[in-house]
């Protein structure tokens, strides 16, 4: 009980601190300029503090990662829960847990030396440090979350649904596609949302492989700068009490709001019982 209250207490404290420091930026720059400004030059005089390129960068990388990780992750969950023989199942589950255990900085490093040159050569780009590289690497990070939660959701489908489908003469494939997946859909959506939540908050790997250029991305093959990478890269240098410092906290609020919304959505789906 005490621990539970304490954790909520800490979240509230963190949020209040974020709000207190972050809202100060709006004394010098209007809300719409901050959210929709195209230029991010925080250390110039006067600073340009428009985070639209950063928001779009984060969204682009996240969508890319979702497009890659959701089909593979859900497919993997279905295979593990429904099709794979016991031995294969055990090996796969161990492998996926191992994937979750790789520190993101290691994934970033591996991505930098293997994936980045590959992307550059395949698409004949001037540089391989692009949103696509970030998406692929982050897909690896989201996958363990998606697979394990989606798999749990498939297990929690009542057994008689499946037996009923077989009794009606449905094939294994029809049972999975028409019965199991719809029955587990709320859990699968929650899995996807939590995976996305992990991606949007990820910092180290994206900072290493997306190039960090604050431009409005026109395709997934250009460098982008994400919200998280901006805070991580610039917080050390920001003069305490400057507009730049407050702007980084305001970015923190934006991130907090985004992941809060994602988690709430996931929660709503998770508790919506069929």
């Amino acid at each position: 009980m005490a621990c539970g209250v304490a954790s909520i207490f800490f979240v509230v404290l963190i949020f209040l601190f974020l709000v207190k420091e972050g809202l100060a930026v709006f004394r010098s720059v209007s809300f719409s300029h901050f959210m929709f400004g195209h230029k991010w030059y925080p250390i110039s005089e006067p600073p340009h503090l428009g985070i639209l390129p950063l928001i779009l960068g984060s969204i682009l990388v996240t969508i890319g990662a979702a497009v890659i990780s959701v089909p593979i992750g859900v497919g993997c969950a279905v295979y593990i829960a429904e099709i794979a023989p016991l031995r294969v199942k055990e090996i796969l589950k161990a492998g996926i847990e191992l994937l979750a255990a790789i520190p993101s900085v290691v994934l970033g490093f591996v991505g930098m030396v293997t994936l980045v040159p590959l992307v550059k050569n395949i698409f004949h780009l001037p540089t391989g440090l692009t949103a696509l590289s970030g998406s692929v690497m982050l897909a690896f990070m989201a996958m363990p979350t998606i697979v394990s939660i989606a798999e749990d959701a498939l297990y929690s489908v009542p057994k008689n649904y499946k037996e009923g489908a077989f009794a009606l003469g449905a094939t294994h494939w029809q049972t999975i596609w028409r019965v199991m997946l719809p029955a587990a859909s709320s859990g699968i959506v929650a899995a996807v949302m939590l995976g996305i939540g992990r991606v949007i908050g990820e910092t180290m790997a994206v900072m290493m492989i997306t190039g960090n250029a604050a431009i409005l991305p026109k395709s997934i093959l250009v460098p982008v700068r994400t919200l998280t990478a901006t805070v991580a890269a610039e917080m050390g240098e920001a003069v305490v009490g400057s507009e730049h410092y407050f702007a980084l906290f305001a970015i923190g609020i934006v991130l907090f709001v985004i992941s809060f919304m994602i988690n709430v959505t996931a929660d709503l789906f998770l508790h919506r019982r069929p």
């Binding site: 991010w40 890269a233 305490v240």
Partner: protein, 284 residues
Amino acid sequence: MFKRRFWAVVLLAFLSVSCAASGNNSIQVKGSDTMVNLVQAWAEKYMEHNPGSFVAVTGGGSGTGLSSLISGTCDIAMSSRNIKVTEVALAEKRGINPNEIKAALDGLAVVVNPENPVDRLTVDELAAVFTGRIVNWKELGGRDEKIVILSREVNSGTHVYFKEHVLRKNDPGSQEEFAPGALMLSSSQAIADEVAGNSAAIGYYGMGYISANQKPVAVAQEHGGEYVLPLIENVMNGTYPISRPLFLYTNGVPASLVGEFVEFALSPEGQEIVRTMDFVPLMK
């Protein structure tokens, strides 16, 4: 380099234990990543001469060092840029009086891939490239390739110096900025690696990072001027246009151990270490 970092960490751990026993026999030095290796080399030599005293060196960026000095958590801040007016104001509010000591010089090398035929540029051309006015290498006599601009992150003193002295040409009223499409990399080593592997890339860093995998560009101050390579003697005699001082900041005029350490850094022996670390000593 990693070995040095490792020893810095070990030293730090040791220091936290020894602090209790030995009181003021230790100095904390913090700041510019460009200077970490240099100051660490000074510290090692200094501790060799003065057994029983400890100098702990950590990086983090010039701004990090200066804010630690201001908050009183380090004795010396290493900085590759001048302290800002806002930082001085903040320091005075906290009762800290930043004292600037020029400790060495550093030439900023502009580097391209060795396969790139372009080997000399003027400061104006550099400004045009890094602000995005020139976007293709063929405009500079190179191949028909889009230029990939590499820059350090904004937490780097090197970034600030390059912007103020190359992009803005020391004009405080100038509004020039790095092109929005410039890739911001988090370390000089990352820039070195990307330049080594990318034939269209151009980047900048302290000349200590130059290796056979990158080609330094000869730079001329103005059109028609002499093109000069980033070499130690060219920085010392002032002909290389993009060089900068490296600073140590202390709280007030340094005394006792801090003073001795600074004195050692500025001594002929300390300045010889500067040369061996590929930076540029203050005097001949």
